[in-house]
């Protein structure tokens, strides 16, 4: 559905995206994770053509819908007018669906966009995207700035998209959320993808081992105590004594290692 091969993008001397490759299939929810500045937003922007990539290939087999990181709409329009404008510009847009979603989200159609809080503008933007019939939905931090109840509803809607056979590529900081809804994840840091696999596989692939200080270990250092060090290693490298750990620990250990 979406194929990215060897994507590279620099801004002047700084390499933001350094040879990224991945694929997203129909019906799959793919999460691109990583700390700020990892290159997630630049990757998405290169995919939808807002930024011009330096090299690499992007193949999209179908129509896409995009939610930007900065969720800005036309401030002087009312919500209703924004729906109509979206209808004018967007292919396969369902106005009625949009009105229904906006009402579910309790957004006043007569309100001017400028008077809405940032979270509400995000909700409007999401309502517009969910009313668009695309093959892949590319979302940059879709739940940022939303209250917990709304976040869950959006997660459900995202899952609903995959039920309909659509592909979803999204970025997030919030691991707990990603664990609810991602099929596959890619952990990105400083322009590279450090690890990419099914979330379930990653959870079982890595375990924590405790070793004496100074002992050589093939893995990611996680913690130091007085006499010992804790490493996150692949299970096959772990030997007989190991512990399972949560995804957040695995994520942090992997990302931290690269940042050194």
């Amino acid at each position: 559905m979406l194929k990215v091969k060897g994507l590279k993008k620099s801004y002047g001397n700084k390499v933001a995206v350094n040879d990224i490759s991945f694929e997203v299939d129909r019906g799959e929810i793919f999460a691109l994770l990583g700390p700020n500045g990892a290159g997630k937003t630049t990757t998405l922007k290169c995919i939808v053509g807002l930024r011009k990539k330096d090299s690499g290939k992007v193949e999209i087999d179908g129509k896409y819908a995009y939610l930007p990181e900065k969720k800005e709409l036309y401030r002087y329009f009312t919500v209703k007018k924004m729906v109509e404008i979206t209808d004018y510009y967007t292919e396969e847009f369902n106005k009625d669906k949009a009105y229904k979603l906006l009402s579910d989200f309790q957004i006043d159609l007569k309100e001017k966009i400028a008077n809405l809080s940032h979270g509400m503008v995000t909700q409007v933007y999401l309502a517009l995207l969910l009313s668009q019939n695309a093959d892949i939905y590319i979302l940059d931090e879709p739940t940022w700035g939303l209250d917990p109840v709304m976040r869950n509803r959006i997660i459900e809607k995202i899952r609903g998209l995959s039920y309909e056979g659509k592909a979803v590529l999204y970025t997030s900081h919030i691991l707990a959320e990603v664990e609810k809804v991602a099929d596959r994840v890619a952990i990105m840091s400083e322009g590279h993808i450090l690890e990419m696999d099914y979330l379930d596989v990653i959870k079982e692939k890595y375990v924590a081992v405790t070793v004496r200080k100074g002992e050589k270990v093939n893995g990611y250092k996680w913690k130091e105590t007085e006499n010992e060090e804790v490493y996150i290693v692949k299970r096959e490298d772990a030997g007989s004594e190991y512990e399972h750990v949560g995804f957040d620990v695995i994520f942090e250990a992997i990302v931290r290692r690269d940042r050194k």
């Binding site: 019906g27 799959e28 929810i29 459900e156 899952r159 995959s162 039920y163 707990a176 664990e179 609810k180 809804v181 099929d183 979330l199 379930d200 596989v201 959870k203 079982e204 399972h244 750990v245 949560g246 995804f247 957040d248």
Partner: protein, 125 residues
């Protein structure tokens, strides 16, 4: 069908689903020959991804616990209760060893067993 899923556990969701279904078979909640919910319907009820239920069912079929009936869905084939329970009993054994090592006396453990099973014994007599 619904049961609680812990998304943040180090146990993958598909595994949790597998374990729960096996449990339900062992306790008789799911009888041999009964249909389990369709992938889509279970995914929706639990609030999980289709791929997740897919994988759980796929592995249960490979393990011989579920069977695919063409055009109808997934049906309970059976479960080697002993093997399933065997693992759990092994975990129990490990726990007892740990407690023994901590200095817990046999009588304490016996008391707990009586308490947990006691109610049922009285009901039967």
């Amino acid at each position: 069908m619904w049961f609680s899923i812990d998304f943040n556990s180090h146990v993958p969701v598909y595994k949790q689903i597998k374990e729960k279904i096996k449990s339900m078979i062992v306790t008789g909640k799911l009888k041999k020959g009964a249909f389990v919910p369709s992938i889509r319907s279970l995914a929706k009820d639990l609030g999980v991804n289709l791929n997740t239920v897919s994988r759980a069912y796929r592995e249960l079929v490979l393990e011989g616990i579920l069977k695919v009936v063409r055009g109808e869905g997934y049906v309970v084939e059976g479960l080697d209760a002993e093997r399933f329970l065997g693992k759990k009993l092994e975990e129990f054994r490990k726990m007892v060893l740990t407690l023994k090592g901590d200095g817990i006396e046999y009588e304490k453990l016996e008391g707990i067993l009586r308490e947990v099973y006691g109610g049922e014994e009285n009901a039967e007599s």
